[in-house]
Amino acid sequence: MFLDSWSIALVICGLVVFFMMGFAARSAVRVLLYWDPDSDSGRQIKLENEIWLTSTLVECALGVQILSLTVFVLAADHFSGAIVGAMCATGSLLANDFGVPALTVKIGGVFLYGFWIVLHQLDIRSERYPLVRLKYIYLLTLLPLLVLDLSLGMMYIAGLEPDIITSCCAVVFGEAVGGGTNLFAGFSHFLSLLLLYGSTALLFILGGLLLAWRRIGLVVVFGGVWLWFFLLALVVITTLFSSYVYAMPFHKCPFCILKPEYYYIGFAIYGLLFTGAHLGMSVAVTEPLRQVVGLEEVTERFQRRATLWSLVLLALFTAVSSWHYLRYLLLGGQG
């Protein structure tokens, strides 16, 4: 399926990210080899300038990665038209062994590039650039992920045969439809709702505590709960909220909510969830930086802001994602 427009778009996205991160890595190697803050040599000035190149490249790469994630899901949806048995993106993602790993790695990329940008933003606030080395070592460790991302994407496309029979999302996520495999069987509605809203409440409490009275343990717990909440929310959106968006009890698909038929509500839901989770986890990720000379204050200020914003986004997420469900409860599914 390499000759499909969507495949080509995916490959272009992948190559653009690869190209940008590749260039950034080249700077990283040079910075790691030659960085010398005590020198006024032309090389040091050049390296200081290259910091802006790398950060711009990583920022662009993050943008393209988010785009590429969107294209990946929309492409899967498009492929479903050509794969027998697949009726939406879920079906085509399951068409071979590389679909879901490719998606996971892409999502991972979004978070990891995001953390790099957080590091960078903190670093440039201190006059000594204390994180330069850490930042660039981190950048280099992202390279394998980048290669993995690109190759999984390619293998997924290469492995798509138009006549492979796959399952459709009604079978994968549906509850006991004709004995099909059910990924999340055994999750009762009540339990998952309880977990989701419980975690939401927990996050609010933890966040409130953090803003008033910060302790290291609390910070780590906050980040951890955000990670848990992120995964949980993905599951609950898939198994529960989505079917209320579609107003079809057996249509449980995490991707179809991105479609124009549902007013692109999925973009709002996932956008809020991803940004919120990213900020929430950044609070924990940046905790060690509070030990770095010159960054104590900056980090603390960032953490406070990130905590606050992650809570705001959480509130918005809860409102937007539960909207269809609540409307169903209140209006009984009418209108």
């Binding site: 427009s5 778009a9 653009v16 802006w52 662009c60 294209v71 498009h78």
Partner: protein, 397 residues
């Protein structure tokens, strides 16, 4: 001092500097808009064709049965439909007689379709796609519904009766009961719809066979199961479901547009090189301007922001311009620039009207094909411009 205000100021500065260098920027803009125009036109054409085909499929039977012999399609005995009576879920089995008719006078190839219209569930919809006239009463012989190119052939000859020759060269004539609409041209342009008995008569097909059998199914979800049962019951047939036809269409269209995209990528590559070149060349005045700005307290990243904004503005404008022109080209001029290239399609329907639907995902695709490579090509030159040192504007005259 907010980030937003800083960017707004820089954007303002960028706009005025773009305007000052409008000639240089206009050339990039126009070339880029041209590339986007080509890519977008192609995407919209493919999309419109796929959609038209899709619409046409809606009326198609869920399952078609063809008899195969020695790897070729042969006539199906009508007796086969009785063998299917044991399968639950089948609403109706209707025979069809159809084939191709070469008209020696006009040199055109028509598709002749003989239907048993009174037994087909969707036959009422035929009237909806007729431009003039109405479909004859079911079973009435001697009347035909024809597509527009058939009608044009008829007008050129000057007759009102459609005269066709049997294989033994004896002539049959039909009155024209109706003409299909322009919108369905992709399917009906060269079509002649007859009553099934008329078609038998024309092609000299025996009474007890048909070209294929259409199977109508009550519940869509059961189609694959029923198709499988039919295939088991009638081992010498090929059973084609509507979904399979659609997927074949998609693969073919997708492949074609993909292939064309690869060709267009060559144009894009040329443009990217051009953009890189334009973005990395700095005139002495521009160099001086950058170092003056730096002396006045602009950071490297402020200059970088100017350059990136410049890229975004040019690319955004080119994108809007290219896409708009492409839409006009496809919707109002029938993609006339592509006529010579689209060999396969132009033969099917020489005067096809396309109505591309505007979908966000379409534009996302076009964006990935055009703006993304452009951005990738301009980021690094933008940075190297921004790293002009401040001191180069100092000192001597």
């Amino acid at each position: 001092m907010s980030v937003l205000a800083r960017h707004l100021n820089i954007l303002d500065h960028t706009l005025s500097s773009l305007w000052r260098r409008r000639l240089k920027n206009l050339s990039v803009l126009l070339v880029f808009a041209g590339v986007i125009f080509l890519i977008a036109s192609f995407q919209l054409v493919t999309r419109a064709l796929t959609e038209t085909a899709e619409q046409a499929l809606v009326a198609a039977p869920e399952i078609t049965i063809q008899k195969m012999s020695a790897g070729r399609q042969v006539a199906v005995p009508l007796a086969y439909s009785e063998k299917l009576s044991g399968i639950f879920g089948i609403r109706r089995v209707v025979p069809r007689v159809w084939g191709y008719y070469f008209d020696e006078v006009s040199g055109a190839n028509y598709t002749v379709l003989g239907l048993e219209r009174d037994r087909m569930p969707a036959s009422g919809q035929l009237d909806l796609v007729l431009d003039q006239g109405e479909s004859p009463a079911p079973g009435r012989s001697g009347a035909a519904l024809i597509g527009r190119s058939v009608q044009q052939g008829l007008e050129r000859k000057g007759g009102s009766l459609l005269s066709l020759f049997r294989p033994d060269l004896s002539m049959v004539s039909f009155t024209v009961a109706g003409v299909f609409k322009e919108e369905t041209d992709i399917l009906t342009n060269d079509l002649i719809v007859l009553d099934i008995d008329d078609a038998r008569d024309l092609f000299l097909v025996p009474e007890d066979v048909a070209t294929d059998l259409c199977v109508y199914v009550a519940n869509q979800r059961e189609v694959p199961t029923i198709a499988k049962k039919i295939a088991d019951a009638l081992p010498d047939t090929r059973v084609v479901t509507r979904a399979q036809i659609r997927k074949t269409y998609q693969v073919v269209f997708g492949w074609r547009s993909g292939f064309a995209s690869v060709c267009l990528l060559t144009a894009l590559a040329a443009f990217v090189i051009f953009a890189w070149d334009k973005a990395s060349g700095l005139s002495p005045e521009e160099r001086r301007e950058i170092s003056i700005l730096k002396l006045l307290g602009w950071e490297t990243r402020d200059i970088l922001a100017i350059r990136l904004w410049e890229g975004i503005l040019v690319a955004g404008l080119a994108f809007v311009l290219g896409c708009t022109l492409a839409y006009i080209h496809v919707a109002f001029f029938g993609a006339s620039l592509f006529r010579p290239v689209m060999v396969g399609w132009s033969v099917i329907s020489p005067s096809l009207r396309l109505a591309p639907t505007v979908q966000l995902s379409q534009f996302l695709l076009i964006f990935c094909f055009s703006v993304l490579p452009y951005m990738a090509a301009t980021v690094i030159p933008a940075w190297s411009c921004a790293s002009v040192p401040a001191e180069s504007a100092l000192g001597g005259v």
